[in-house]
């Protein structure tokens, strides 16, 4: 199959593809009376690395959960490749949650079986190579691994898919700088270049260099969506500096809602 797809085919296919991968219209999510997302409108293209930035509680995880179908929006529309989150989108979205999601009994090879069984875009060989580079034996049980190793296993599996959208929720929170470098380089060297990567974090300085675009989320609203180049050119400052300025006032607005 792969050999038959020439470069010319790709160009032709690309022309027919909607350049917009993610489309949000007035997206709202409330938990009880508490709003988590407050009317988001957004269009996001393909082949980009996007930072979803905001302080804790700004709605980053809620947005990611809606995009991968773990939550239903209260109101509004979220589309990925023209589909509402569901079976079609889940086959195209590779999701790294901010926690461990394995069954205890599984070994590294069971996980590779699992991903091969359910995801057509999973590259088993790639995953096996990355595991062996990390010194993880296929028969090693997940239960006996250290927390850091478990996180790496999860990242390897998620990045071994040739997905159209990677949703990475806080991949670098709570890890040491060496692990941070490993995680970022794993993401950069393995993601599908036609696909888009969304990385949610509040640690901007570490990932600023890899980002094409940033989305600033505050109190469930998008306060800024721009390219990193644009921010540097227009504002004359780094994304990290801008982030600190935008969110500096947050503690004083606590009484607003």
């Amino acid at each position: 199959m792969e050999e038959m797809r020439t470069g010319a085919d790709f160009v032709q296919v690309d022309k027919n593809v909607d350049p917009v991968l993610i489309r949000l219209q007035n997206l709202r999510k409330t938990y009880g009376a508490k709003p988590a997302l407050n009317g988001l409108d957004l269009e996001l293209g393909r082949g980009k690395i996007v930072g979803l930035l905001g302080p804790n509680g700004s709605g980053k995880t809620t947005l990611i959960k809606i995009l991968n179908g773990l939550l239903r929006p209260t109101e509004g529309i979220a589309l990925i490749d023209g589909y509402a989150p569901g079976v079609e989108t889940k086959a195209r979205v590779s999701y790294l949650p901010d926690r461990m999601y394995f069954a205890d009994w599984m070994r590294a090879c069971d996980l590779m079986d699992f991903f091969s069984d359910f995801y057509a875009d999973f590259d088993r060989q790639k995953a096996a190579e990355m595991f062996s580079a990390l010194g993880i034996r296929p028969t090693e049980r997940i239960k006996t691994m250290s927390k850091g190793t478990k996180e790496k296993v999860q990242l390897v599996l998620v990045m071994s898919r040739k997905a159209e959208l990677y949703l990475l929720d806080e991949p670098i929170a709570g890890v040491d700088p060496a692990a941070r470098d490993f995680i970022l380089s794993t993401i950069l060297t393995n993601y599908n270049e036609d696909g888009t990567v969304i990385i949610s974090t509040h640690l901007i300085s570490d990932i600023e260099r890899v980002l094409d675009e940033v989305i600033f989320l505050q109190n469930g609203q998008i306060v800024r969506h721009d390219t990193v180049d644009n921010i540097r050119a227009v504002e004359g400052k780094s994304v990290d500096q801008l982030f600190r300025e935008v969110f500096r006032a947050v503690p004083y607005q606590g009484g607003d809602f």
Partner: protein, 270 residues
Amino acid sequence: MFGKLMKYEMKSLSKGLIPLYGAILAVALINSIMWSVSGNGPTSTTSTISGLSQLTAMLVYFGLCVAIAVVTFLVVIQRFYKGLLGQEGYLMFTLPVPTWQLTLSKLVGATIMTILSGIVGILSVIILGSVGLNWGAFLRGLGQLLANWDLDMTFICIELFLLGVVGTASMVTDIYIAMALGHLSSKHRVAMSFVWFIVIQTALSFLTGLIGIVLGNIPAFTLFITNFFIISPIIGTHSMLWFSILVCLVETLIFYFGTTWVLKNKLNLE
């Protein structure tokens, strides 16, 4: 995709239960060998020592049955709660499979394992009971039973088996719907699952009682049922079994679709 889900569900369930089955059958076998060697079967009552061994046998029976029932119950709950509503939910609900397949794989897996547990329980009791058994009488009785075997008995066996399956499934879905509703609470989700379970069970017994009273007060209905049994006890038994199967099936379907609806539309993982 459903086949793959079933594969992992059965793997996951077996990890917890198959070793237990092995242990229980081994305990039963060891006990029965020890009794037959010492000559004190659980059914002999000639001396104090054999009386003591009878007591021990009873305790072992009881212990085995309780162990199997409790562990099966816990594994069924845990596979659903941890596997869908806990952290594993982040993996399962982002797979490209529809929610009804996720819940159905849990239901089918839990029903199969519960029935297997029942079979292992019965087997262990048979192994223990076989020590003091009068094999001659047992085989004679079995021969008589088979000699009088007819089509009705075959059907009753099939009906009892079906009742066993849907009865088990209805108990499993009772637990699932309680957990699905409990997970909607923002706090104390496990406690709320218990509360929901009690509420649903109370409502069910109230409903059953109410229907019983209403139907019991319709003379034509009671007359109809009584005549049914007078005219043909066999037909009466068949219809009672089919009626029970139908009730369990309806309960299973309502709670299964209810659980799936909640998890599809109201999912809120911790």
